[in-house]
């Protein structure tokens, strides 16, 4: 059961604000992992990505933005499984996550302007294929 319309209207601004914060942090952390910098922080970064994807998934589903929720759920599962070890095929998997995050940022803009998320079916299929290697 998602929220009532009146709640969605009331909480849309807060959702967009917190979702953007999570997306920005996800984007930064994925970029840091991709760059290979901060070697001593790799596990912290993976754990933070896991927590961020988890929170963003939960609040997106509650608001009825299920495509964003689904992208986050795939990212969350991948990092939960790998948070304590090196990522498998890091360049390929991180680039896929990066593309997913960027598309979700576009979707947030669409929600802000037109109250509707964009279709993320292609990204979901792609992420499922690459992150479940």
């Amino acid at each position: 059961m998602v929220m009532k319309q009146e709640d969605i209207a009331r909480y849309k601004k807060l959702y967009l604000q917190t979702a953007r914060e999570y997306m920005t942090k996800l984007d930064e952390n994925v970029s840091l992992l991709l760059s290979g910098e901060a070697q001593d922080m790799q596990q912290d970064l993976r754990e933070e990505i896991h927590r961020g994807a988890h929170s963003l998934k939960s609040q997106s589903i509650l608001m009825g933005y299920t495509s964003i929720g689904e992208v986050c759920a795939i990212i969350e599962r991948f990092f939960e499984k790998n948070k304590e070890k090196e990522l498998p095929s890091p360049q390929e998997t991180l680039k896929a996550v990066d593309a997913g995050v960027k598309k979700m940022i576009t979707s947030l803009n669409e929600i802000e302007q037109h109250d509707q998320e964009i279709d993320l079916a292609t990204e979901i299929t792609q992420l499922q294929k690459i992150l479940t290697l």
């Binding site: 807060l14 959702y15 896991h50 988890h54 998934k57 609040q59």
Partner: protein
Amino acid sequence: MRVLLIEDDKFFQDFYAFKLREKNVEVEVASNGEEGLQKLSEKLPDVILLDLIMPKKDGFEVLQAMTANGLIEKVPVLVFSTLGQEKDVTKATQLGAKGYVNKSFFDFDRLLEKIVELSQK
């Protein structure tokens, strides 16, 4: 009735605190496990709503600390879970949680019912 909501997500904090206060439930919010344990040491609530995945002590560590200091017997804990956390909920129940609600599927009446039920035990 007094509820301690231990939840790191600002969106869920605001949403659920507002909804519960609308029903005259007193709500105290803690943003991580460490802060939650600190608030517990100051004043006991009737029920705790506990998120599991949090920074600075997660929900499991909160349950373990409550077992160690005996509070798990005094204050019922309701896990605030979401999709895909079935194993986590089982683990939390083994650590002493009395039930769970899925915070992503909004059924406020069910949440309130569980809170009332637990606070009366």
